[in-house]
């Protein structure tokens, strides 16, 4: 693409509120997206993430709040003047136009001369590996190819902001995973600020510089994939990302937090919450025979295996603890882990590194 001096713009959303009847689709949401960043809005369906994206694109008008692109306030600007590229969930290609005409559409509107238009469309199609498909009709393309046309059409006119609304949700798993990597590479190549909406936590972790978690119209947490995964802010984030187990913690007089008589950590300084919950990521566990000698850096709980699910590269070991709470462990199936010798009903010691312990405020549900 043309190397613009400023290839991207920052997005600044301030206290954006949108209600449908009495329901808050967005409740005073503020997010700053840095120029050139790949930010994912992650949340369950109906959380308001698409509403937020559509507000940035200009397709729905918020009740209050401000949206800025760079220094420009675009809150009341109609969509066709915002100059952002967008990839729609169902691609929204123009069925009466060829691939070439679809991609050329934004250039035609901008009255780009024919020769330059042809060049830029050709280059955009090459970028998405569809050079040989320019003259095809839209109905002659597969889902993945349509996806690429929609993508080419969204960036061909050199927008400084790119919005994507669950662009991969209609593709099958394998293609989706390939496209995730391709989109990421494309983002690196174009350097354009990208806001990506998905309800797929793995997709969010794979692609994003930062993830913003939206729930019930509110911004719950924003951070890098590692921050979100290793230090979830609350129960919703911890349960939405990953397949964690939750144990309620008791607080003793000294402020130490315990589960089943084992101290797992302390109440963070300045925190006032009464209830605390231990979050255990399934892949961070190790399984030991009941009489194994314990290591200092680890804490141990004992439990009984209830179910074993073999999934190829990993096996899921479901356990029930002495107090009835269930725990899920995900074990690599390499020979050293000895997964094949496990059986239902077996009593085991579960170990977890102290650094892998996650403690969040609130009750375990």
């Amino acid at each position: 693409m043309t190397s613009d001096t400023a290839a991207s713009l920052s997005i600044s959303v301030t206290e954006l509120t949108k209600t449908y009847g009495k329901i808050f689709a967005l409740n005073r949401v503020s997010i700053d997206v840095k120029a050139g960043e790949f930010l994912t809005l992650l949340g369950p369906s109906g959380s308001g993430k698409t509403t937020l994206l559509m507000a940035i694109a200009g397709f729905n008008r918020p009740d209050s709040g401000r949206i800025c692109f760079g220094d420009e306030d675009v809150t009341v600007l109609p969509p066709h003047k915002r100059g952002v590229g967008m990839v729609f969930q169902n691609y929204a290609l123009f069925p009466h136009m060829s691939v070439f005409e679809n991609v050329a559409f934004p250039l035609k509107l901008r009255k780009i001369p024919a020769e330059e238009k042809r060049q830029r469309v050709t280059e955009a199609l090459r970028t998405v590996q569809l050079s040989d498909f320019a003259e095809r009709g839209i109905d002659q393309l597969s889902g993945g190819q349509r996806q690429r046309v929609a993508l080419a059409r969204a960036f061909v006119f050199g927008p400084k902001i790119l919005l994507m609304d669950e662009p991969l949700s209609a593709l099958d798993k394998k293609l989706r995973e390939e496209m995730q990597i391709e989109l990421k590479q494309l983002h690196r190549q174009l350097g354009v600020t990208t806001v990506y909406v998905t309800h797929d936590q793995r997709e969010a972790l794979t692609m994003s510089d930062r993830i913003a978690i939206i729930d019930h119209g509110e911004l719950t947490q924003i951070g890098t994939p590692r921050e979100i995964y290793n230090a979830p802010a609350n129960h919703f984030v911890a349960s939405f990302i990953g397949e964690s187990s939750f144990f309620p913690l008791t607080k003793d007089k000294s402020g130490a937090l315990q589960y089943a008589g084992v101290t797992v950590g302390e109440v963070p300084n300045g925190a006032t919450h009464d209830n605390w919950t231990l979050v255990i990521r399934p892949e961070r566990l190790s399984l030991h025979a009941p009489k194994t000698s314990k290591i200092n850096d680890k804490i141990y709980f004992s439990g009984e295996i209830t179910e074993l699910v073999y999934q190829g590269e990993t096996a899921i070991v479901m356990m029930v603890m002495a107090d009835g709470h269930s725990l899920t462990a995900r074990m690599n199936t390499r020979a050293g882990n000895d997964v094949d010798s496990l059986m239902g009903g077996q009593n085991l010691l579960v170990g977890i590194d102290k650094k892998d312990v996650i403690i969040i405020p609130g009750e375990a549900s």
Partner: protein
């Protein structure tokens, strides 16, 4: 593994049984469609064939082309066909001009209100054709509602001739044909992906540009489908032009009636019917060419 030796005597497992089942199923399907095929044959093929054969008989019942020769010989026949196609074209055109904005409006309002507005289109559609036609006559005639109102309000001074001419014919026909255009057009417009218009706006199209460059082309199959229905119906329309045309606008259907009533000449009437049928098919053929072009442009479905 060595491949199993196969000969035509050594049949694959259950092949015969499966083939028989397949054949039985297709016979069953045929048997189920038979009543419909017989009905079509009795109701359509035989009468049309009879009409067709009648047109080749002269008044003595001898085989001849006299009915068709007369049509070429007398200029009045040509004029009747011209008028018929003219009126049909004009009606179709006016239906598009009036029906397109109406269908667009219906396609843009929330679905829950569509029923209400659709009723305004459909209610007249459900009432008697004859009643509607005479209602128009009451409104359009020399001392009718419209002329009286207009003169009272001072819009025009002397009564304007609205009925018993082409004006009346067109007004009546457009009113009666409108639903046949609006319904398929509305359906086509509803099928247009709302996101395609959003995408156009997102890519920089003003609402006007999005309408002309995306919405209108995508609604064209609906326009073509609706226009064809209207046009073909107009070609054979009788009641409304007969009443509102006041004998000044003679269409083929009226000519056929006249021949039957005045001369009791079945042969000549049949020949007119055959020519009308053939020219209707010709129009459809040309249109289907156009439609095929469309399906290439708009996708197979």
């Amino acid at each position: 593994m060595t491949p199993r030796p196969t000969s035509h005597r050594d049949e694959a497992l259950n092949a015969t049984k499966l083939r028989v089942a397949e054949r039985r199923q297709s016979l069953l399907v045929l048997a189920l469609t038979l009543p419909a095929i017989i009905a079509v044959f009795l109701v359509i093929v035989i009468p049309v064939g009879w009409l067709f054969s009648l047109s080749f008989l002269d008044s003595n019942g001898e085989l001849s082309l006299v009915n068709y020769e007369k049509m070429i010989a007398y200029k009045s026949y040509l004029r009747v066909f011209k008028t018929t196609f003219n009126v049909s074209f004009l009606t179709t055109f006016l239906c598009i001009v009036i029906g397109y904005p109406l269908a667009y409006f219906l396609s843009q309002i929330p679905r829950k209100y569509v029923g209400l507005f659709m009723l305004t289109v459909l209610l007249p559609f459900w009432t008697s054709l004859l009643v509607r036609t005479y209602a128009w006559l009451v409104m359009l005639q020399r001392n009718g509602l419209i002329n009286n109102f207009a003169i009272d309000l001072g819009i025009w001074d002397a009564p304007v001739k609205l009925a018993h001419n082409l004006n009346g014919t067109l007004i009546g026909m457009v009113h009666i044909m409108l639903p046949f255009l609006v319904l398929p057009l509305y359906a086509a417009m509803r099928r247009i992906d709302r996101h395609a218009l959003q995408a156009a706006a997102n890519l920089g199209a003003t609402p006007v540009q999005a309408f002309w460059q995306i919405f209108v082309p995508l609604s064209l199959p609906g326009v073509v489908a609706g226009s064809l229905i209207v046009f073909v119906l107009c070609l054979g329309f009788y009641v409304t032009p007969a009443v509102l045309g006041g004998g000044k606008v003679i269409l083929v259907s009226m000519q056929i009636t006249a021949i039957l009533e005045d001369q009791f000449n079945w042969g000549a009437a049949s020949a007119l019917g055959v020519v009308l049928l053939v020219s209707t098919f010709a129009v459809l053929l040309v249109a289907s060419r156009f439609l095929k072009l469309d399906s290439v442009m708009f996708g197979r479905r």
